[in-house]
């Protein structure tokens, strides 16, 4: 309880103090325009106070090791001295006198602080390092100033001051030196800074107005920038740094973590890539692609374009690519391949289905109800959805009833297909009737010489016909989850959706598609509703069919939105973690980068490898983010 209270108090004090400082900073800069002297005094006092805090707060100076009052005296004293320097400096515009004030106050402060440094902090000055750093700093900042067309001398002085601090304190053995060393290490930067101070002028009213204006921006931005810096930039840099260290973050190993990640069979296993050409998916995909080419050639002859949006080539082209991609992803295995597979499948399926639903539901009856239902999964947490789907995928031993929904259906279908009871006949007749209906529909369309209208029913017919011949046993023994034993007995067979590699990956992706379709649908639906009615009206007047209007008017109009949905989904899917963690934890060849990163860093204690995976993930998401941000800026 005591700890909770003290933490709470600390937080309150921190927040309060930050707010106060922010207000105070604003008030200080209120003085710039008309009270230049007051402002100088305040600003100098603040800098002096900070220097004092750095010195005595870190227990570097004498008499600072006790309680609060023991270290606060130096900041106060320095604040007063700095304020005095500021006032004196402000009172004259004569360059020589200002230079005198700057240098002498530098000497004064350097000697004073040098005397105050505690023995434990006396640096053993390394002259070479001190000179090196000083000259280096002077050269660097001086060069920067030259490039920016500012004064070389002032830049060199600032650089030399900072360099001499780094050289005098940073590269020396602290505590091993003498009082003289401390004196040197404080005097040099103080004098350099003082000299630089002497080069300044009192600004005129115009310059002051500019200072005031610019200061506001800085004051208002600082809290946000600080927050982003601490929570985003520092962790990023640290992760990149850790990825070059070994597993306990001790020794530097250069690119070993990256090399290991990419040479590991777990990340990238191409040993079975030849399986690709014998896989059924590849063959079907290749056939579909061939059809697309044929259609493309025909359409080129007729309309002058082989491929355009809405052209019959697009369908087979996409399906073909999709199938071939599946064949490729099931032959090349590994974490990285899985991630790519996830991106291709989920992004494509979720966007396509979201678009289809958005279009079909547009202005339909009960549109809101339908869209709400599809949107609902988005409200379920990824972990919750994963648990639900794991139950749906569960297989049971076939001597018992199946409890998983999908296996119950599959095994039930197998029973139906291999059985001979009334339900079996009923389903068979039903499917047969639907097939007949399709034939009638298509022949009527052909009779009216509208061959394009037979495409969708045609695909449906082929699929359903395949199901029918399998179901009735004209080819094979039936369809569904069953096996026929050597003795000719029919036994049920369940599918281990989650365990059977590599397609278990696809069953995991289904979960994310289920969730993200709602997201794609909502965004695309809004975009479709925003398509100007006059455009659609004009198209209708010109005699465009609904499908033509969709492909040639609506789709190009919502192109940007589709881009947003796709890029958002890519970034989201790249980082997929929860589903894999809950359902398989990367077992059975379903490992993905994010889960591997978690396992390496937090379970196997290999921080370096975990950080490397995090960086790989970060870098691979970057181009998409960049593209997304660029387009957003263009949009504005």
């Amino acid at each position: 309880m005591h700890k909770v209270l003290s933490t709470l108090l600390t937080v309150l004090v921190a927040v309060g103090a930050s707010a106060l400082i922010w207000v105070a900073a604003n008030m200080v800069f209120n003085q710039v325009r008309h009270q230049w002297r007051r402002f100088t005094a305040m600003a100098f006092a603040a800098v002096g106070f900070l220097v004092g805090v750095l010195l005595s707060g870190n227990r570097i100076t004498k008499n600072s090791q006790g309680g609060f009052l023991s270290w606060v005296w130096l900041p106060l004293l320095l604040a007063v001295i700095f304020a005095a320097i500021g006032v004196v400096l402000e009172s004259t515009s004569d360059t020589r006198r200002r230079q005198g004030v700057g240098v002498s106050s530098g000497v004064l402060l350097g000697v004073g602080v040098g005397l105050l440094v505690r023995k434990q902090y006396h640096p053993a000055i390394d002259i070479v390092a001190l000179l090196g750093w000083t000259v280096g700093g002077a050269a660097l900042v001086g060069a920067v100033n030259l490039v920016r067309k500012r004064s070389l001398v002032t830049g060199a002085l600032v650089g030399a001051a900072v360099g001499s601090i780094l050289g005098g304190w940073g590269s020396a053995a602290i505590g091993a030196g003498s009082a003289g060393g401390a004196m040197v290490a404080t005097l040099i930067p103080a004098v350099l800074a003082g000299t630089r101070l002497g080069f300044t002028n009192n600004p005129n009213l115009q310059a002051r107005a500019r200072i005031e204006q610019r200061s506001r921006g800085v004051i208002f931005l600082t809290p946000a920038m600080l927050f982003i810096f601490i929570t985003l930039i520092v962790p990023t840099i640290r992760t990149i740094y850790l990825s070059f260290l070994d597993k306990s973050s001790e020794a530097f190993v250069a690119f070993d973590n990256y090399v290991n990640t990419f040479s590991d069979r777990v990340s990238w296993d191409a040993s079975h890539w030849t399986n690709m050409f014998t896989s059924r998916l590849f063959i079907i995909g290749a056939i579909v692609l061939a059809i697309a080419v044929v259609v493309g050639v025909v359409s080129k002859r007729r309309t002058g374009r082989a491929v355009e949006i809405g052209n019959p080539t697009v369908g087979p082209l996409l399906v073909g690519f999709f199938l071939v991609a599946f064949a490729v992803f099931t032959s090349f295995r590994g974490t990285i391949v899985n991630n790519l597979w996830w991106v291709v499948t989920v992004v494509f399926a979720a966007t396509a289905m979201g678009l289809a639903i958005a279009v079909l539901a547009d202005n339909a009856k009960n549109e809101k109800v339908a869209k709400s239902l599809i949107f609902m999964p988005l409200a379920i947490s990824l972990v919750g959805a994963s648990v639900i789907w794991r139950f749906m995928y569960v297989p049971r031993d076939t001597s018992t009833e199946q409890t998983g929904t999908l296996n119950a259906l599959w095994v039930g279908l197998g029973r139906l297909s291999t059985g001979s009871g009334l339900p079996t006949i009923f389903v068979g007749v039903l499917v047969g009737c639907i097939l007949l209906g399709l034939i009638v529909y298509m022949s009527r369309a052909l009779a009216r010489s509208q061959p394009t209208r037979t495409i969708v029913p045609g695909i449906g017919f082929v699929l359903l016909a395949w199901f029918f011949v399998r179901y009735t046993g004209l080819i094979g023994d039936g369809v569904g989850g069953f096996d026929i034993t050597a003795s000719g007995q029919v036994v049920p067979r369940a599918i281990s959706f989650v365990q059977e590699s590599p397609f278990n990956n696809f069953w995991l992706m289904v979960i994310l598609i289920w969730i993200q379709t709602g997201f794609a649908m909502v965004i695309l639906s809004a975009a479709i509703k925003a398509v100007p009615g006059e455009l659609l009206e004009a198209a209708r007047v010109d005699g465009g069919t609904p499908s033509q209007i969709f492909w040639r008017i609506t789709l190009p109009q919502i192109g940007t939105t589709i881009g947003v949905v796709v890029t958002t989904l890519i970034v989201l899917v790249m980082k997929v973690f929860d589903i894999v963690k809950v359902v398989t934890n990367g077992n059975f060849g379903t490992q993905v980068l994010a889960n591997d990163m978690f396992a390496q860093a937090f379970q196997f204690g290999n921080t370096g490898r975990g950080a490397a995976l995090a960086v790989i993930l970060f870098v691979s998401v970057l181009p998409v983010m960049y593209y997304n941000i660029r387009r957003m800026q263009k949009g504005n």
Partner: protein, 462 residues
């Protein structure tokens, strides 16, 4: 005219003030925390200086906080009750707090300078890691003496790091058990096997007889899927090649794809053939390890090899080892070379400081008295049910245990060779990583034992 100095000063001031705000808060909080640490140490050294007090010494209400992964009410309740009752006699205020995510949280607590007085480690590997990082303290002489008295080196040595004893064994899980229903055996005329050959012959006979399958096997366990396979492999290495090879394997002195290890894996996979195994999830990798209890109880299979804690997975009202119809009992998973090896797991208590009070509590936790009192208390909290607790401490009164648990104790006392769960001692990347995942792939038929072992060997951290 533009004045770079003033601009510079302005930016500096803002940054300085903000930095001063952050800086000063940090200062004050560190000052506060160092203050309390100083106070705490001062208090403890003032409390008592003689650690080897021996006879009832009063600690004047010193507080001792113990944390560990056991979080269920009966376990945590029993630990608290026993330690608090004992603590009262010594003027100690002892609290045990269970934490389901102990293994992750203890790291944070140690890094934050805020560890408990005593931690109960579920894995010796983690304990060794902490010992080498000097986060936990070596045990005082009185504690090591007590351990020597009550524990066989087979158990205590796992908490001995580079020759220094750091941990006190406080709980034992016995893994080399086969659960079965005696009356089902009797009905078919099967005899409990006493050698591994008899065991395999029995499996073959059961499979040939048709009806229920010989074995129930399932290795699904959420994010820890695969661990029952590692247990089986360890049992086979221990049986086929003995304790020395086992140690070499665990310490990576022989490679993971050594022919001996591959042979052990192959033996397991051979036993787990389709004809021998009932898996309620359709296949072994999809079957939750806990579901095997119901399957065994329902008579879907005859035998199931699983550790002593498994009693908790049987349906409510299951009778254990009382000779009634349908009662469940265990027999020792038979050995090959006659040295009766047992595979065990267990927890080890270690001190994050060496205060006298901490050491006194650790000393008590190493005794048989603590073990049997905890057992009695836990049984009482479960209204006479099986506690799930077991201790290999020497000199316990067996009557506090139920008949089934007495059987466990008998197996423990008859064994001449005991080895701690190997996967728990291997580096986490293997023991909680590839050994599980690639083992699962081998069980699933995606890899041969040889290939799985090769890949596990490749994944062993260098």
């Amino acid at each position: 005219m533009r004045s770079p100095l003033v601009k510079f000063a302005a930016v500096c001031t803002v940054l300085a003030l903000t930095a001063a705000a952050c800086g000063s808060d940090k200062k004050s909080s560190t000052a506060g925390s160092t203050g309390t640490t100083v106070k705490a140490t001062a208090g403890s050294t003032g409390g008592s200086t003689t650690a080897t007090g021996g006879a009832a010494k009063d600690f004047g209400g010193a507080k001792v906080l113990i944390t560990g992964p056991e979080r269920d009410d009966p376990s945590a309740g029993a630990i608290n009750a026993v330690l608090q009752t004992w603590g009262k006699t010594r003027g100690l205020d002892i609290t045990y707090a269970g934490d389901a995510d102990w293994e992750a949280n203890i790291n944070t607590q140690v890094q934050g300078g805020n560890p408990p007085d005593i931690g109960i480690f579920p894995q010796p590997g983690k304990l060794a890691e902490f010992a080498r990082a000097k986060s936990i303290k070596p045990l005082a002489d009185n504690v090591t003496a007590s351990i020597k008295k009550f524990w066989s080196p087979d158990y205590s040595n796992y908490a001995n790091v580079d020759g220094v004893q750091y941990g006190v064994p406080v709980k034992t899980d016995l893994k080399s058990l086969v659960w079965y229903q005696p009356d089902k055996f009797k009905a078919k005329g099967y005899k409990v096997p006493t050698t591994f050959d008899e065991f395999t012959a029995l499996v073959k006979k059961m499979a040939a007889d048709g009806g229920p399958k010989p074995l129930c096997v399932g290795i699904e366990s959420g994010t820890a899927t695969g661990w029952p396979f590692t247990d089986w492999t360890e049992e086979m290495v221990l049986r086929q090649d003995g304790g020395d090879v086992y140690n070499q394997w665990v310490e990576h002195k022989i490679s993971f794809n050594d022919p001996k290890i591959v042979k052990a894996m192959d033996t397991v996979l051979g036993l787990w053939s389709k004809d021998n195994v009932f898996a309620s999830g359709g296949n072994i990798a999809a079957t939750n390890f806990g579901d095997n209890a119901q399957a065994l109880f329902d008579g879907k299979c005859y035998m199931h090899r699983q550790a002593s804690f498994f009693s908790g997975f049987f349906p409510k009202g299951t009778k254990f080892a009382d000779g009634s119809a349908g009662a469940v009992d265990v027999f020792y998973f038979p050995d090959i070379n006659g040295d009766k090896p047992v595979l065990t797991a267990g927890t080890y208590a270690a001190g994050f400081n060496d205060k006298a009070a901490t050491m006194a509590v650790l000393e008590y936790m190493s005794t048989a008295d603590y073990a049997q009192k905890r057992q009695a208390e836990q049984t009482k909290l479960l209204n006479g049910g099986l506690s799930g607790f077991l201790s290999a401490a020497i000199g316990q009164d067996p009557s506090v245990y139920q008949p089934l648990e007495q059987g466990f104790l008998k197996i423990l006392s008859e064994s001449k060779l005991s080895r701690f769960d190997g996967s728990d001692q291997m580096p986490a990347a293997v023991g909680a990583g590839t050994f599980w995942t690639l083992g699962t792939s081998a069980v699933n038929g995606d890899l041969t034992a040889q290939k799985a072992a090769d890949q596990i060997e490749a994944s062993w951290p260098k």
